[in-house]
Amino acid sequence: MHKLTMAEAIREALREEMRRDPNVILIGEDIGIPGGWGGPFTVTQGLAEEFGNERVIDTPISETGIVGIAIGAAIMGLRPVAEVQYCDFLFCAMDQIANQAAKLRYMSGGQIKIPLVLRAPTGATGRGAQHAQSLEGLFTSIPGLKVVAPSTPYDAKGLLKSSIRDDNPVLFFEHKLLYGSKGARKERGGVELFGEVPEEDYAIPLGVADIKKKGKDITVVAKLLMLHRALEAAEELEKDGISVEVIDPRTLIPLDKETIIKSVKKTNRILIVDECPKTGGWAAEISSTVVEEAMDYLDAPIKRLCTYDVPIPFSPVLENYVIPTKERIIQTIREMLG
């Protein structure tokens, strides 16, 4: 065990998988430049030095070209880990992601596989509307993609390993405020997150949620940054004798419905906290699933506490206002129990 930040844990997963399997390569902008940053959040630092620029491939600002080349390489049996600098730029490659990566295997009648990971920093961090979206929810609506969203260094490393070993296109979302990037690339407002991470090889299977805190009065489902806010809220409520169960789905596709349903059957209440916008967002899927499978267990309407339906504003006070805060989580839980 050692203590790592999220960025370090992800880097360690990449390094170990690249050592283990020569088919693993990295593709992206500014990831392997000598004297550069190792991608916008330092994740790939040092990897070009170890593996060379044949396996750590710097690209032009060509997201369509990046995802396309990764798809082709994956079809031929490489295991590319491609990246965009901000998940907002996934939209620049949307055709390749949604029309190609997600569908080619199916269209081929199962002839080909696309073992591709696409890493994408998500979440709002004071940069304004075009570098701030939480898009992991949106991609769950495209059959053929897997979607992963880890909230701790331990989960990130274990899930990234599984994603790389998976034979399907996996979108791997990393929250910018959870990286713990250091030095010049440190994020203002970032969560100080050091986590125990095993040094021996381990992998966390996709599709298994983690109950980050046990509780009995209400179930809260949250991911990424919101998970941490939910945990803080839970801690505070504990003092008032309110016992909150906090579930981290960790992978959105496939989704571990059972763990959520089971929890709801126990607590009879569920709140979904999410940084994706509310309308048409990820919380709606969780809510509908619970209604379909456990409506009779509910003692209160399911609530979704999500980012307001607006582009993310620039000003820190406004940004802070539109995204769920610990305070709003506490307040909502109190209302639901009240």
Binding site: I69, I71, Y106, G110, Q111, I112
Partner: protein
């Protein structure tokens, strides 16, 4: 002929004829309502698929477009599997889940064709990247139309192919139309090959109705790619005889234009050439033709007699 023996020359001829007659027959069946969906046909452009694929090894790859039947036959997908796919039968090359626009067969080096214009080109780069990193000396050819060259995918892909020096050949089938739109409306250049200079790679314009010219230039480009000298953009001037898709009457173009190109028909021209070289005569030609027809009928019967897919396979192959 460029080191091509008699047998190979006759093979080129037979392949072109196979494509032509297959497409003609499929169209009949389509009009009779026996084939679902839509069709984008390749008549008139046969010299390109055949001339290029003749240069490739079986383990070389191609990517294709919404108009893939010709590429598929030239790369060696059995006609049975193509026909069955068009008919939506489970014996099709994609188990009836791809369809006319997504014909492909990994085992002979053809990825499922990609029907989003331009989107196959970046993917071809990836295939080439795998070849390059593994030093396998394989190459990939990406086919696309004139219309695709106005799309961002073309630009990003050619630039990346150039900077990584990938073993890929970009083959543009310039049939002067993207759907109903003439190229002169959407591009100020006369030659698409001139765009190669924007990426620092060679660009060549050739007569896409002359299978031997296609073969010759493709040979050079494929050798360059195989030798690690990087990509080439080949522009083949050609023409599609059919409408853009299904029953498009193609009223946006003139009879004269169509007639002009038909007067340069790649199969007729090549046949004449083979006659002049005493490689082919009427007798042998008839024989080839009837052999091709037999093969086509066999493929179509196979397709017709094949079962529809069982419903549950619709839920398979989403994930590996």
């Amino acid at each position: 002929m460029m080191g091509l023996g008699k047998e190979k020359l006759l093979l080129l001829y037979k392949q072109m004829l196979s494509i032509r007659l297959f497409e003609d027959r499929i169209y009949q069946l389509f009009l009779q309502g026996m084939i679902p969906s839509t069709l984008h046909q390749y008549q008139g452009e046969e010299a390109i698929a055949v001339g290029v694929c003749a240069v490739l090894n079986e383990d070389d790859f191609i990517t294709s477009t919404h108009r893939p039947h010709g590429h598929a036959i030239a790369k060696g997908i059995p006609m049975e599997k193509i026909a069955a796919e068009l008919f939506g039968k489970v014996t099709g090359c994609c188990r009836a889940k791809g369809g006319s626009m997504h014909i492909g067969d990994y085992s002979v080096g053809m990825l499922p064709a990609i029907a989003i214009v331009g989107s196959g080109i970046p993917i071809a780069n990836g295939v080439a990247l795998a070849f390059k990193l593994r030093r396998t000396k394989q190459v990939v050819v990406s086919f696309f139309g004139d219309g695709a060259t106005n799309n961002g995918s073309f630009h990003e892909a050619l630039n990346m192919g150039a900077i990584y020096n990938l073993p890929v050949v970009y083959v543009c089938e310039n049939n002067f139309y993207g759907a109903s739109t003439h190229i002169s409306k959407v591009m100020k250049l006369e030659n698409i090959a001139d765009r190669a200079s924007a990426y620092g790679i060679p660009g060549v314009v050739i007569d896409g109705m002359d299978v031997l010219e296609v073969y010759k230039v493709a040979t050079e480009a494929v050798s360059r790619a195989r030798d690690g000298k990087g990509p080439t953009l080949i522009e083949c001037k050609t023409y599609r005889y059919s409408g853009h898709s299904r029953s498009d009457p193609a009223n946006y173009r003139s009879k004269e234009e169509l007639e002009f190109w038909k007067s340069r028909d790649p199969i007729v021209l090549f046949k004449k050439r083979l006659f002049e070289l005493n490689i082919l005569d009427e007798e042998a030609d008839k024989q080839i033709k009837s052999e091709v027809e037999r093969e086509i009928e066999k493929a179509i019967n196979f397709a017709i007699e094949s079962p529809s897919p069982p419903l549950e396979i619709a839920l398979e192959d989403v994930y590996a």
